[in-house]
Symmetry: C2
């Protein structure tokens, strides 16, 4: 096992009817800016529940945070917070709204050009506004970690940052809040959580059996509940609850503690979203199978373990078993209704050059658990994903 630090102070408030707990969770004297995406939080009644729980506290609502939240939109919220003196943020939504809240929390007290936060990956953050979240879309895990990704539309850049000051104080996870989600968003959530788990698991063995089994437990659970989410005529509480808790645990630092990690799939995927506005989870489904195939030598031992423990593959040569494991992975994404080929999104060979240029421009030239996934390798992965 590798040395590690694990420190995650977010208070998880999980279950039915927990939004009322905001009455105790939010400081009594807080002046709260509620952050939301589109209309759905209002329409579904969730915002009404939130406002009722806030009671006599002063609060206002900032809406319009888009999927893949932008620097431009979040800076409008920063200006409002500074002008009106809000001292607590409450994100109500999915990963995009929560990521936006993290940027706003860091930017409000930041001295200097707030774009520098993204250029430095958050290393220049030394304080932040406190914030909590009410999660309505299980997928990104942002509700229990200190990372965020913000997109700058004018230059087509999607950049990540993190800081120990950016853990949510609390996150309310009520599985019934997922009941109104479109099937497409549930499928995206399953795939996003699956790939987060894989990126902390499918590297090389370091004799960390607990981390392996925890990761495998999350993957097995997603494989079980994922297809059911697509066909259930009525929402099943336990399926929604298990998806929600699995997605949170897939990226709260626990399964990645003490093991190598490979975030190349995310880094390549981010460029596809920034350039072509493909849903984040769908970019991961495009990149991952091709990446696993390209990197079968580097990931051999763990690919065999993954094939056996997740997909029950125990016969054939090593290479046959690895191929079968990758095929099962691709098939799982396709069964979730998520195409795994670039051409299904209208992209051909001509799109690859631009992605490669952007990866180069963003310094993504030594990716993976070994730091040896160069631009040339990224090109081969994208060509294999056509």
């Amino acid at each position: 096992m590798l040395n590690f630090d694990f420190h995650n102070p977010t208070h998880i408030v999980f279950g039915k009817d927990r939004i009322a707990d905001l009455a105790e969770l939010v400081p009594a004297t807080a002046k709260v800016l509620i952050l939301v995406g589109g209309e759905s939080a209002e329409k579904t009644g969730t915002l009404g529940e939130v406002r009722q729980a806030l009671g006599a506290r002063t609060h206002s609502t900032f809406s319009g945070i888009e999927p893949n939240p932008s620097f431009e939109t979040t800076m409008k919220a920063v200006e409002q917070v500074r002008a009106e003196g809000f001292d607590f943020l409450l994100a109500v939504g999915g990963g995009s709204v929560i990521d936006a809240a993290k940027f706003i929390a860091a930017a409000v007290p930041f001295e200097g050009d707030t774009w520098d936060i993204l250029l430095k990956g958050g290393r220049n953050i030394d304080k932040a506004l406190p914030f909590g979240t009410v999660l309505t879309l299980p997928a990104t895990g942002s509700e229990m970690n200190n990372g965020s990704v913000i997109t700058r539309r004018d230059i087509g850049a999607k950049l990540a940052f993190r800081s120990r000051h950016l853990f949510p104080v609390f996150s309310v996870l009520d599985p019934t809040k997922t009941y109104t989600l479109p099937v497409k968003q549930l499928a995206n959530g399953v795939v996003d959580a699956f790939v987060h788990t894989v990126e902390q698991y499918l590297t090389y063995p370091v004799n960390a059996p607990v981390q392996d089994r925890f990761a495998e437990g999350l993957l097995q659970t997603l494989v079980e509940i994922g297809p059911r989410l697509l066909v259930s005529p009525e929402p099943v509480y336990d399926d929604r609850a298990n998806l929600m808790w699995t997605a949170t645990l897939a990226l709260n630092g626990l399964i990645g503690a003490g093991v190598p990690q490979d975030w190349a799939t995310h880094m390549i995927g981010h460029e596809l979203t920034a350039l072509h506005n493909i849903d984040h989870a769908r970019t991961l489904a495009i990149v991952l199978p091709a990446l696993l195939n390209e990197r079968r030598a580097q990931k051999r031992d763990k690919l065999l373990q993954y094939g056996e423990r997740i997909w029950g593959i125990t016969t054939g040569t090593d290479d046959e078993r690895i191929t079968a494991a990758i095929d099962h992975t691709r098939d799982f994404f396709e069964r979730m209704g998520i195409p795994t080929r670039l051409n299904a999104y209208g992209l051909g060979r001509e799109a690859i050059d631009v992605v490669i240029r952007q990866l180069d421009a963003h310094g993504m030239t030594k990716l993976s658990e070994h730091g040896d996934l160069t631009i040339d390798v990224s090109r081969r992965i994208l060509e294999a994903a056509l």
Copy 2:
């Protein structure tokens, strides 16, 4: 899945050569009282490393905290802290020293009779001194939770308390610090962590597959590494690291979040330790197999799952499979060198009446996940453990 809260702010600092990190982890202006058990922390050089990392900070050492730490000893430390104005505690040792640190941390600022902390189970704690830990004995999980058990020798009472104010600020987990432990203490650690896991897992199903698989991952890991710890001529770093992280995760609140729990084995075991000074883990090994057999109806579904997933039992009638699962459990403890029968500790039928009286006196009359494990059932369990 049941509703739950999960909130664990302890910073884990894991790996080789991490004691030097105390230089940053302990506040620069802290006046530190180091808490230790016997001579070993000094002899092995661990205390020297700790003092070096503390640098110019004012510090002193309080030694003599016994296994199953006593109210009497911890109150001496409370008096020293109050008299000399220490403002940070640093526990260097295993669960006993850490449990003692929690009581001292709560008692120092407590107004009134500190015994009330134990009588109220910690519900009357509204503040505590900050404290960190350097773990040298993996077993209890106290390094990453907010619970503690203190014994009052004069009345033979062993009482638990907890408070949200009692999470360690940080815990340094260096697996090499276990290299000097006697085999008996390693074996106790394996069994303690195993039983902690079982008590949050072997109840009844609530459709929480992630919690189940996490618990099973811890149990499988203990079954793998446990016997190796007894026979290795030289300490194997990864085995020690995996034991340490497993024992921490077995009782940090994670695997018990959202599922029923059954702490009856601990409650009955505490009385055996208080009356007969049997090592804590050994009392658990005595009680658990007898309890599982007595409660096979209430725990049927999970016993079958446990038998299949941990011990590979897939044939026979349900009752045969459950019997085999319990037999494997008893055999595992015995293979760890820990006897599972009261008579192996010199206790016969005459000892049971006293234990039962103490359980009654301490209000332990409605134990288990159903609250239906009465004094009469506890008696049957103890008789079956003869």
